[in-house]
């Protein structure tokens, strides 16, 4: 898919909360052997006063700082998440108000499991690309939910990124094209009033993550007439360190192309924020002319693939806001599993 007029990322900002819990602390609480192989070393956890809204606000402020746009020029604020603080009341209006984009702005929360953030990116691209807006803000942010004791508890993390889309003249990275691939696949779901999502066991993996990521990625490469070696960097949704590497290898991307964006290795799976955080790690490092391949995945299921190329403006704008590395280095270890349960409000009084 290509936009009517050329569009690019005019600003980006990220957020990762400081608290971290060691995966061995979770394993010990559930009686796992100390020799158990765990998917990640530690994961990020929101502090007691943080949620998806507060994290989205900080990422959005970073995106504006790296751009030439004032907040009143932002015509849309879309927040993609599966951890809205309110069941009924948009998160996007709070974010829009906090960054000063209200009242002449379009706003909504998008839901598509881990693909909600990249769906917001597709929509923002179209909004700017059609000429309806000069700037539109797309955010993917999550304080990921996982049932205590479930294997997802080791990786379900918190964080994400915000991307301000704008005209090509303002771009830090140009969007060359995008492609979405969606089917109805029951791999992961949560019913109303339930606290934690469930897996559709046999649908996890091959028919969901791999099929959709491969189809969307191949579809975009084919449409643009490109091959993986045309790209300096590539980022995929990263529910764990294994899936992303397997899908990259199957498509023909090497470890050197994906390693700097493998944020999952350091903080776990930030759901809607995961692929967007990985992309930001590349924007923190890319030089003008570097081509970046991006493909998200969300259960339910679908993938959005984007092809981007960094512009000469990127390096000058980069230092206006904290980098992914700044947030990765800011760590506050959580002392024990009890403190973790308290912070995540998993303890309920009966």
């Amino acid at each position: 898919m290509k936009t009517g007029r050329e569009v690019g990322i005019a600003g980006y900002g990220v957020y990762i909360p400081a608290p971290r819990i060691d995966a061995r602390t979770i394993a010990a609480a559930w009686g796992r052997s100390p020799d158990t192989r765990l998917p990640v070393r530690e994961k990020s956890v929101p502090a007691a006063d943080e949620d998806t809204v507060t994290m989205a606000i900080e990422a959005a402020r970073g995106a504006l700082r790296r751009s030439r746009a004032g907040p009143s020029a932002v015509r849309a604020v879309w927040v993609g998440t599966e951890s809205k603080p309110y069941a009924v009341k948009p998160s996007s209006t709070i974010v829009a108000e906090a960054i000063g984009a209200t009242p002449w702005v379009s706003a909504a929360d998008l839901e598509f499991a881990c693909k909600a953030g990249s769906e917001a990116m597709q929509t923002a691209c179209a909004f700017v690309g059609s000429g309806m807006a000069e700037y539109a803000l797309a955010i993917g942010m999550d304080a990921a939910q996982s049932k205590p004791g479930d294997h997802l508890e080791f990786t379900a993390a918190a964080g994400g990124a915000a991307y301000l889309f704008g005209p090509a003249a303002d771009a830090l990275a140009l969007v060359e094209g995008s492609r979405s691939f969606v089917t109805d696949t029951p791999d992961f779901f949560r019913r109303q009033h339930m606290h934690y999502p469930e897996h559709g066991h046999r649908f996890t993996g091959e028919p969901s993550y791999f099929r959709h990521t491969l189809e969307a990625s191949r579809g975009l490469l084919e449409a643009l007439g490109r091959v993986p070696s045309d790209y300096r960097w590539a980022v995929f949704h990263q529910p764990n360190p294994k899936f992303m590497r397997k899908v990259a290898a199957e498509l023909g991307f090497g470890e050197a192309q994906i390693a700097p964006g493998a944020v999952v290795d350091r903080i776990g799976n930030t759901y809607s924020g995961a692929s967007l955080l990985g992309l930001a790690a590349f924007l923190d490092a890319a030089r003008a002319g570097d081509r970046i391949f991006f493909c998200s995945y969300g259960s339910g299921a679908g993938s959005d693939a984007f092809s981007l190329v960094a512009t000469a403006r990127l390096e000058a704008a980069r230092d206006a806001a904290p980098s992914v590395a700044d947030y990765l280095e800011r760590r506050q270890p959580i002392p024990d599993y009890g403190a973790y349960l308290r912070m995540t409000r998993a303890i309920r009084m009966l």
Partner: protein
């Protein structure tokens, strides 16, 4: 909470964006916003958005929190001297494991201010944390 709802809504400019007021006739800058300048008594002060950077003037740790703040305890409160001049009182964020000191650079962040009940309204507003990462 129902009584406080309109109050928090009315204060959202100050809570979310650190909007105070500036006197058109003298260098006075005020937070929270004022209607009349206490220095020169000029009325009709205009909205002024503070940049959100400052230094820690004083601080204390709260171990026995008042109602509504229990889930965040222990936490720190402080007084911050904003770059533009005013001294404001606020909660401090991300202070676990941080050696707070008078004069340290801090910056404004938006956080949950108080612990609403599960069915209640969430109050978001400004807090200050030790300044993060590279100088901006």
């Amino acid at each position: 909470m129902t009584v406080e709802l309109p109050r928090y809504h009315r204060l959202r400019g100050a809570y979310y964006r650190l909007e105070g007021s500036a006197c058109p006739a003298c260098p006075g800058r005020y937070f929270p916003p004022r209607a009349v300048c206490p220095a020169c008594r000029t009325a009709g002060l205009r909205m002024f958005a503070f940049c959100g950077r400052g230094t820690l003037y004083s601080f204390s740790r709260v171990l026995q929190p008042p109602r509504g703040f229990a889930s965040m305890a222990p936490y720190a409160v402080g007084m911050v001297r904003l770059e533009e001049g005013p001294l404001i009182s606020c909660q401090l964020a991300d202070t676990d494991g941080v050696d707070l000191s008078i004069g340290m650079p801090v910056e404004m962040v938006t956080r949950k201010l108080r612990d609403a009940e599960e069915h209640g309204y969430i109050v978001y507003g400004y807090k200050f944390r030790p300044r993060l990462g590279r100088a901006r």
